[in-house]
């Protein structure tokens, strides 16, 4: 069935609004939603929380002593007034890497992944 003229115009308007929203950082309108946590200041540093969770789970599988509050405090100290990219680059230079499922990653990034996995477990 052919779309009506009114329906076609509506679709174009909606698409334009979507594109504008994404362009102005409004991706949250269409992005994934997570239950609020007390660690959102940290978790928003991750490029993709869903992607981070399996890595975090692999890390937690070999780090039974991972304590959320302690880890979060350490991550806040490391990330204080700096973005994750900058912190990661200096960690790589200093060899501060951790391993999850064999994958070598900057320690803070992996800590955030573990935190994301732990928060997923709590929801």
């Amino acid at each position: 069935m052919m779309p009506s003229r009114r329906g076609a115009i509506g679709a174009v308007v909606a698409a334009a609004a979507g594109a504008a929203a994404i362009g102005y950082g409004g991706w949250r309108l269409f992005g994934r939603h997570y239950a609020p946590t007390t660690y959102d200041d940290l978790l928003t540093q991750l490029p993709d929380r869903d992607m981070a969770m399996p890595i975090g789970r692999a890390f937690l599988a070999t780090h039974a002593n991972f304590t959320t509050t302690q880890a979060a405090a350490a991550l806040r100290a490391r990330l204080h007034n700096r973005d994750l990219a900058a912190v990661s680059i200096s960690e790589i230079a200093r060899g501060e890497l951790s391993v999850a499922g064999g994958w070598m990653m900057p320690a803070t990034l992996l800590g955030l992944c573990a935190l994301a996995a732990r928060m997923q477990n709590r929801v």
């Binding site: 692999a58 994958w103 990653m105």
Partner: protein, 499 residues
């Protein structure tokens, strides 16, 4: 001169060459070629014929204990050309550090530095037919592709070159027997005898001189060779066997007064799929994955710890190679996408590869060959190998991998997954290089070595050993180029003895 068949030599004959070369592998053939235009009357004794023969090969059978190793009659070949009849042609000179005594590496160090071998490398390179002698110089010229970008650190791209039998359309590595048969036949001062097995090295009464060699054929013929000088060049396993089995005058065997013959056996450990290398930008340059021709060399890249890194972290040699392309699983994809996003590179077209390695082992006196009560068809005692690999060696390699992973991240070019951690995991994927070394080690002190810096057996004026059995420390490089260079140096010494 055409080759002689030992089975046609009359029983009880006594031959009296100036020099007997025992074994027609790369060392023995190199020695004969190097002494071709001298007045030295040479006799080269080869156990096998021109081609594989099961009955002769069976003389190599033995037992193994300890870590799983290749059966002793499958890890080498017993006919003219020796194990160059099945080698892969991988070549690389040892690093300067491999020759040094290192306090952190027990029993390490050669009696001379690498500079001592340098003059012999060009000719050795010609003999193995590996093209221009470039190796690490390949990194500094034009290549068909880019070097893997690594951040500053302890790992770098190095290069293997490959033996390639010139004129052979199948691009096989140089099999010394067939390749040099005609050259050997043209040497007027050489008699090359096939099917001649040396079953004993017999000492003079004062036990400071070899009087003669006992020769036997599988057809039952026996005779003697009474040379002025002898070079034993039967390979890294059989050299030790011949000395240990020649125990009529000295109960422990020739050169074994200090219980060193057969000890310190080494090979290169080659565990497979030790790590996954991911290149964020896509395909790695082809010379990491396969052998290519450029600038007069047939070559392939390897990733290796630098000398500085090895010193600083007390590492033995490791030559990492790209094995094959692999697919990332869900976790791998998540790790790659997350890490590359944080580094601001993206990895939409990332390629992943498994990494293998050739690992140097720490010298270990308990990794050794001993005689058993079983005997072969010629009545020679058979061997037993006790194979070991220490957790320390595996841990050292892991340090190199971790550094490589760090440098990939630092270069924003990729990342690494470590595949093995437990010993059982490593042993499950363990292969070996068939590079037999160390069993008649070289050292100036007779208490620490079987031969001296001139490869003369300590205490025996006319007996020399050639081949990688004399390597006291092994490096990660394949031994053939190096043992050929060392044999050329020995040839110069022997030439001096006859002046």
């Amino acid at each position: 001169m055409s080759f002689v068949d030992a089975r046609q030599i009359p029983e009880g004959t006594e031959l009296t060459p100036d020099l007997a070369i025992v074994g027609g592998g790369p060392a023995g053939i190199t020695l004969a070629l190097a002494l071709a235009r001298t007045p030295i009357k040479m006799l080269l004794l080869e156990s096998g014929g021109m081609d594989f023969d099961p009955a002769t090969q069976k003389l190599y059978a033995g037992d193994e204990t300890g870590v799983r190793y290749i059966p002793l009659d499958a890890t080498r070949l017993r006919y003219l050309g020796g194990s160059t009849n099945h080698w892969g042609g991988w070549s690389r000179p040892l690093d300067a550090l491999d020759f040094e005594k290192r306090d952190w590496l027990p029993y390490s160090g050669w009696p001379f530095p690498r500079e001592e071998l340098e003059p012999y490398f060009p000719r050795a390179q010609q003999l193995i037919e590996a093209g221009s002698f470039l190796y690490d110089k390949l990194a500094h010229g034009e290549l068909p592709g880019a070097l893997l970008p690594l951040g500053p650190g302890g790992m770098y791209t190095s290069f293997f070159q490959f033996s390639q039998w010139r004129g052979n359309k199948e691009h096989l590595p140089t099999a010394f027997g067939h390749r040099y048969a005609d050259d050997l036949k043209r040497i007027p001062n050489l008699q090359l005898m096939l099917h001649a097995n040396v079953t004993g090295v017999r000492l003079a009464q004062d036990v400071r001189w070899v009087d003669h060699l006992d020769i036997a054929t599988l057809s039952g013929r026996k005779f003697k060779v009474k040379p002025r000088h002898i070079v034993v060049a039967c390979g890294g396993i059989e050299n030790a066997r011949l000395l240990l089995a020649s125990n009529d005058a000295i109960a422990a065997g020739i050169g074994n007064q200090n219980d060193l013959v057969g000890r310190f056996f080494a090979d290169h450990a080659i565990p497979r799929d030790t790590a996954t290398l991911v290149v964020f930008g896509g395909e790695i340059a082809p010379f990491y994955k396969t052998n290519l021709d450029a600038r007069g060399a047939h070559f392939r890249a390897t990733i290796s710890p630098t000398e500085r890194f090895r010193r600083g972290r007390q590492l033995t040699g490791a030559l990492i190679t790209v094995e094959q392309r692999v697919e990332l699983d869900g976790l791998g994809r998540a790790a790659v996408d997350t890490t590359s996003a944080v580094l601001g590179t993206g990895a939409g077209s990332a390629h992943a590869y498994s990494l293998g390695v050739g690992l140097e082992l720490t010298p270990d006196p308990d990794r050794r060959l001993t005689l058993t009560t079983a005997r072969d068809a010629l009545g020679m005692p058979r061997l037993k190998l006790n194979m070991t690999i220490s957790d320390h060696d595996l841990a050292r390699y892991r340090i190199s991998l971790i550094e490589l992973g760090r440098q990939l991240l630092a270069g924003k070019s990729g990342m690494l997954k470590l595949q093995r951690s437990e010993r059982a995991e490593w042993l499950q994927v363990m292969d070996w290089g068939n590079h037999h070394m160390g069993t008649t080690r070289m050292h100036d002190d007779p208490k620490q070595g079987v031969v001296d810096a001139n490869l003369q057996v300590h205490g025996l004026a006319n007996l020399f050993i050639a081949g990688s059995s004399v390597f006291p420390t092994y490096g990660a490089s394949n031994p053939t180029l190096n043992l050929v260079a060392l044999t050329l140096r020995l040839a110069e010494h022997i030439r001096g003895l006859f002046r």
